[in-house]
C-alpha cells in the first residue's frame, strides 16, 4: 500500500513536471505590430496593425502568425474601406496567416541573432512559400522577433486598377515587431 502511494505521488510529480515544462514552451503575443508601406509615384501611404497574434513553440522552433485584415488602420478612413472592400476582400478572407519554422532556433541567444523563418504565408486566399529574415532575441521570459520583407501584390491576386496604379506600389514593404511572452493556458 505504502509503495503504491509512493508510485502515485511519483506519477503526480512527473505530471506536474510535464505540465510546467509544457507551459513554458510556448510564447505568445496578442498585440504584435505589423505595418506596411506603399511608396508609389504619386503618393506614399502606410497602415498599422497592433493586434497581431503570434506564437512560437520554443521546443520545436515552430512559429505561427495570424493577422486580422480589418485591424489595419489607415490615415484615411476611406482608404481603409477600400483596402478591406476591394483589395484584400476582408469579408471573404478575414485573416492573413504565416506558419513556419525558425531555422536553427536552438542557436538563438539572449543577444539579438539574425535568423530566418521558413514557411508558408497566406494572404487574400493565396498561399506561398516564403523565407523571412528576422532578428530574434530569446530569453526565459520573452522571445522578441522583428524584421521586414517585401511582398508583390500580384502574387496574391490583389489587383490594382489602372487609374490608381500611380498611387499604389506593386511591391509593398512589410515590417513586424513581436514581443512574445510565455503562454499559459
Amino acid at each position: 500500500m505504502k509503495k503504491n502511494m509512493k508510485t502515485i505521488y511519483t506519477i503526480i510529480i512527473c505530471l506536474l513536471f510535464v505540465t510546467v515544462n509544457n507551459a513554458q514552451e510556448r510564447f505568445l503575443t496578442k498585440n504584435g505590430s505589423i505595418s506596411f508601406f506603399s511608396s508609389a509615384v504619386v503618393k506614399d501611404f502606410k497602415a498599422d496593425n497592433n493586434q497581431v497574434l503570434s506564437i512560437i513553440d520554443a521546443g520545436s522552433g515552430q512559429m505561427a502568425i495570424a493577422i486580422l485584415m480589418k485591424s489595419f488602420m489607415f490615415e484615411k478612413a476611406l482608404m481603409q474601406e477600400h483596402f478591406n472592400e476591394n483589395y484584400v476582400e476582408s469579408d471573404k478572407f478575414p485573416k492573413a496567416t504565416v506558419r513556419g519554422d525558425i531555422v536553427d532556433f536552438e542557436s538563438i541567444t539572449d543577444l539579438e541573432t539574425k535568423a530566418e523563418v521558413e514557411g508558408v504565408i497566406s494572404i487574400h486566399g493565396v498561399s506561398k512559400e516564403i523565407v523571412i529574415g528576422a532578428n530574434i532575441t530569446k530569453s526565459e521570459e520573452s522571445i522578441f522577433v522583428k524584421g521586414e520583407f517585401n511582398i508583390l501584390l500580384a502574387d496574391y491576386d490583389i489587383e490594382i486598377p489602372r487609374v490608381v496604379s500611380k498611387s499604389i506600389a506593386k511591391k509593398i514593404k512589410v515590417t513586424f515587431d513581436f514581443n512574445h511572452k510565455p503562454y499559459k493556458k
Binding site: 508510485t7 520545436s60 505561427a64 489587383e159 486598377p161
Partner: protein, 286 residues
C-alpha cells in the same frame, strides 16, 4: 515498479501535447470583437436618394450631379442632352457619424441643406446587430421667381422640409438593400387640393457585379400625390463604378431632380413610356 514509473515518465514527456496546431491556438486566443459592417452602399447616394453611408471624419466631398432631359425627346433634342439639371454640392463629415451638406440645383434655382446622422450600425461578432439606421433631414429653398409679381412669395413660403429614416442591411458582400420611410412637407403648394404633407416609402438595392461595379435600383412610393400635376413615383436604375478615390454613378431615372422633395413629390416622368433622364453623380474627396 521503478521501471513502470520511468516508462510512464518517458511516455508523458514524449507525448508532450504538440497535437494542437499553433494556428488553432491563435484562433482560440483571438479576442472576440465587434465588427462594424462597412460599404453597405458605395456612395452617399443610392442613386437619387441618400444611402446610410456617411462621409468619413473631416472629409470634404465635392459632388456634381447631372440629369439630362428625357431620352424620348428624340434626335431634335439629342435624346435629352440639350437640357440639363445640375446640382453642385459640398458635403462634409463633421465626424464619422454626422454629415452636413449644402447644394444648389439649377432646376428651379433651388438651394438645399441637409444633415445625416448614423444612429445604429450593422454589426457582427460579440454584440451583433442586424441592420443599420440613419436619420436624414433637409431643408430646400426654391428661389426661382415663377410667381405673379403682384403676389411675391416670401422666404418661408419657398421652403420645403424632408425627414427620412434610412434602414439598411448588407445581406451579403454582394447584396444590400435599404428601406426609407420619408416625410415631405411643403410650405406652399400649387392648388388647395395639393397636400402639404406627403409620406413615402423608398426601396433601394445594391447588387455587386464585380469588385468595383455594382448595379443599383431605387424606387419611392408616395402614399399621397399632388393633384395639380400628373405625379408619378420615382424609379431609377444605375451602376456604381469605383475608381480608387471616388465613386462614379451612371443613372437612368424618370426624375430630372436630385433632391428628395423634388423627385419624390414633383416627378411627372413615366419610366416605361420613355420619360427617362440619363445622368451621373461624380464626387471628389478632399
Amino acid at each position: 515498479m521503478k521501471k513502470i514509473i520511468v516508462t510512464i515518465f518517458v511516455v508523458l514527456i514524449s507525448i508532450n501535447i504538440p497535437a494542437q496546431d499553433l494556428l488553432d491556438i491563435l484562433d482560440s486566443e483571438t479576442p472576440k470583437t465587434d465588427n462594424i459592417v462597412t460599404a453597405t452602399f458605395k456612395g452617399t447616394r443610392i442613386l437619387n436618394g441618400h444611402s446610410i453611408e456617411n462621409r468619413k471624419d473631416k472629409e470634404l466631398e465635392f459632388i456634381i450631379s447631372h440629369r439630362f432631359g428625357r431620352i424620348n425627346l428624340g434626335f431634335d433634342e439629342l435624346f435629352g442632352l440639350d437640357k440639363s439639371n445640375i446640382r453642385f454640392a459640398l458635403e462634409y463629415g463633421v465626424n464619422n457619424n454626422l454629415t452636413a451638406g449644402l447644394g444648389r440645383s439649377s432646376f428651379e434655382k433651388t438651394y438645399d441643406g441637409f444633415l445625416k446622422y448614423s444612429l445604429l450600425k450593422q454589426k457582427t461578432g460579440a454584440n451583433s446587430f442586424p441592420f443599420a439606421v440613419s436619420l436624414f433631414g433637409s431643408i430646400a429653398v426654391k428661389t426661382l421667381k415663377d410667381y405673379d409679381p403682384a403676389d411675391k412669395r416670401t422666404f418661408s413660403e419657398s421652403l420645403f422640409y424632408v425627414g427620412q429614416v434610412l434602414i439598411a442591411k448588407k445581406v451579403s458582400p454582394s447584396f444590400s438593400f435599404q428601406l426609407t420611410p420619408t416625410y415631405v412637407h411643403r410650405n406652399t403648394v400649387r392648388i388647395a387640393a395639393d397636400p402639404h404633407d406627403i409620406f413615402a416609402l423608398g426601396l433601394g438595392t445594391r447588387l455587386k457585379l464585380t469588385k468595383r461595379v455594382s448595379f443599383n435600383s431605387e424606387y419611392y412610393f408616395a402614399f399621397d400625390q399632388s393633384k395639380s400635376i400628373d405625379a408619378r413615383n420615382s424609379l431609377a436604375f444605375g451602376v456604381d463604378i469605383e475608381t480608387g478615390g471616388h465613386v462614379f454613378q451612371l443613372i437612368l431615372s424618370n426624375a430630372i431632380t436630385m433632391i428628395e422633395k423634388s423627385f419624390i413629390t414633383e416627378n411627372t416622368g413615366d419610366f416605361f413610356s420613355g420619360d427617362i433622364h440619363f445622368g451621373f453623380n461624380i464626387s471628389r474627396t478632399f
